[in-house]
């Protein structure tokens, strides 16, 4: 699903750099990345998503070499193939639960919003226990409920790859498990892979593989 070779990335004018000689994630694999803050975990996810571009090296996602795509194609690729569950991806305060789940479909013409999609969105919400709260506004939801809405939004386009950055942070243990269950369920019975950055070590045993990010500084995992 993901193949990274001899990657070098550096933020312009910043001392931080990221070098990854080689990194692979198989289809359907559930991978957890751990490591200290500032190690470059989020940067890696953004590189995989095509939001950032490396100075050197190649990134293949779903057999596509990202650097060969134009900006527009990369955005289209991102929106159709990758599901994001980032902490910085907020819900839109002015849209209700259902509209937040459907939001991706409204902002990119590559995705077609039709009755089927709406049904699937409602079904997803039902699935995560928000079936009765479709018309609620985000401010009326608890932190856990908001995170579940964000997960639904990421899963709606049926992505081939789910990137989760601290998706369970700030949640109570019950909700952490619940969110993780949701993400796992999305990968089940399909080729969808999950790459999750997490600090919750108690959840690690449930992943197929855990990568400690300390190892990326200069050497392959």
């Amino acid at each position: 699903m993901i193949a990274i070779n001899r990657l070098h990335f550096q933020y312009p004018g910043a001392p931080f750099s990221l070098d990854i000689p080689e990194f692979h994630v198989a289809s359907g694999e559930k991978l957890a990345i751990v490591g200290p803050s500032g190690a470059g975990k989020t940067t890696l996810l953004k590189l995989i998503a095509g939001i950032l571009a490396p100075q050197h090296g190649t990134i293949h996602v779903d057999s596509t070499l990202l650097e060969t795509l134009s900006d527009a194609a990369r955005r289209a690729f991102r929106i159709t193939r990758i599901g994001f569950v980032f902490q910085e991806l907020e819900l839109l305060e002015y849209l209700d639960v259902l509209d937040n789940i459907l939001h991706t479909y409204r902002i990119n013409p590559v995705l077609k919003l039709d009755a089927q999609v709406r049904e699937r969105a409602a079904a997803l919400a039902q699935d995560v226990g928000l079936g009765s709260k479709l018309k609620r506004m985000p401010r009326e939801l608890s932190q856990g409920e908001r995170q579940r809405v964000a997960v639904c939004r990421a899963l709606l386009p049926k992505p081939a790859l789910i990137l989760a950055d601290e998706a369970t942070g700030n949640l109570d243990p019950a909700n952490k498990v619940r969110i993780l269950e949701l993400l796992f369920r999305a990968t089940e019975g399909s080729d969808t892979s999950l790459v999750a950055v997490t600090h919750d070590h108690e959840l690690l045993p449930r992943f197929d593989r855990v990568v400690d990010f300390m190892g990326f500084h200069g050497a392959a995992a």
């Binding site: 998503a49 929106i79 980032f86 907020e90 839109l92 002015y94 409204r106 902002i107 919003l113």
Partner: protein, 395 residues
């Protein structure tokens, strides 16, 4: 811009109601203010010019042509010295124009009382919407606004008010009979109380009816006879203050009707050549009267209105610029507040262009809403502006 953009923009605006309302209010004010002002100015111009344009020529006493036009056309309180009925006859006798005498000296309870011949109503295309046209001495018909202001309907009576207590020579209170209320004309005629010229001359004291008198001096059946003594002053005579079927035959006039006062004569020339001839006649050999072209007179008044209009425009442009700058500031501030949201959208796979589209959709909605408010405001102005302009323009 897609329907999705508009959908999102609509939800955004709805969510931030206060902000949206303020923005819409600002935009509509900026839009409707100059439009309303220009409408009011145009309406003023229309009222002035329509009235003036439909009044070809005016003959009246020498003096201020503006006062003459205002009092003969708009029944203003401006006092102009009267001319004689003979001047109206003189206009008619030229054969070049129809003469419509107008006598607008009096006011009754704040409304102008205008003495005219019945031709005036044909000329202005006025006819009673309720009741009937003037028929007898002592009748009056009311303009629609005058009827409303006085609270009178056909069949009611209206007492004229004496000008002052010591005016022994005439102007006594006469009870007028309201025979009809004229239809809407959107002109100063709506404000007026119309009576036959002869009725206004009775009010003036030039004609009257009274109880028995020595037959030798009786002029009852001699209208416009030779007698010049004003019998009003005779304490033995009981002068009627209301004209009724029983006493109407005792009403009579004294003196030469040609000398009776009128404010002005509306002269309606039969053609352009006749107008020129008529103007020449009055310009050449007359010391006491003047002939004016009301259109030209109002144009001079309008010039000052247009200057006010230009000033308004300058002020509005400045205020508009200031408001637009403030709106720009509001927008850029709200963009900053929305940074995280925009970041989200961007990360989800939106181009920068999309963000611009969303903002544009928002602007479109704001403009549409402001446009609607603006339209509603203008409707209001159009509906209620006319009378307001009339009061404002005509002293």
């Amino acid at each position: 811009m897609t329907r999705h953009d508009l959908y999102l923009a609509w939800h955004y605006l709805r969510f931030h109601k206060t902000r949206s309302v303020i923005l819409i209010a600002c935009l509509s004010l900026i839009g409707s203010l100059p439009l309303s002002l220009h409408f009011l100015l145009d309406e003023g111009e229309r009222q002035m010019t329509a009235r003036a344009a439909s009044t070809p020529l005016l003959v009246g006493a020498k003096g201020s042509s503006v006062d003459l036009t205002l009092s003969a056309l708009y029944f203003s309180e401006a006092t102009v010295p009267p001319v004689a009925m003979a001047d109206a006859d003189r206009v008619g006798e030229t054969g070049w124009a129809d003469a419509l005498p107008v006598y607008s000296r009096f006011r009754v309870r704040g409304q102008p009382l205008v003495g005219v011949t019945l031709d005036y109503f044909d000329f202005r295309r006025l006819s009673p919407a309720r009741g009937n046209m003037l028929a007898l001495l002592g009748d009056c018909v009311l303009g629609s606004d005058a009827a409303e202001a006085l609270g009178l309907e056909p069949g009611d009576t209206l007492l004229t008010t004496p000008e002052n207590l010591f005016d022994l020579a005439g102007v006594y209170p006469l009870k007028l009979h309201v025979t009809g209320v004229l239809g809407k004309s959107h002109s100063p005629d709506e404000q007026a109380i119309f009576a036959d010229l002869q009725t206004t001359w009775v009010i003036e004291g030039l004609g009257h009816g009274h109880t028995e008198q020595k037959p030798a001096a009786r002029d009852g059946n001699q209208p416009f006879g030779q007698a010049s003594v004003n019998l009003q002053a005779d304490p033995k005579l009981l002068t009627y203050a209301e004209i009724t079927p029983d006493n109407i035959d005792s009403f009579h006039f004294h003196g030469d009707p040609g000398s009776y006062p009128i404010t002005a004569v509306i002269a309606v020339p039969h053609d352009r050549r006749a107008a020129t001839l008529l103007k020449g006649r009055f310009l050449a050999d007359d010391l006491k009267t003047q002939i004016v072209d009301p259109h030209a007179v109002t144009r001079s008044l309008l010039d000052s209105i247009f200057r006010i209009g230009a000033l308004f425009d300058a002020v509005i442009i400045l205020v508009g610029c200031a408001t637009l700058l403030a709106l720009g500031l509001v927008f850029s501030l709200s963009m900053r507040l929305r940074q995280r949201e925009l970041q989200t959208i961007f990360l989800l796979g939106c181009s920068r262009l999309k963000v611009a589209q969303l903002v544009a959709a928002e602007l479109v909605l704001l403009v549409i809403a402001s446009g609607a408010v603006c339209w509603a405001l203008l409707q209001g102005v159009e509906r209620y502006g006319g009378p307001w302009v009339r009061e404002f323009l005509i002293p």
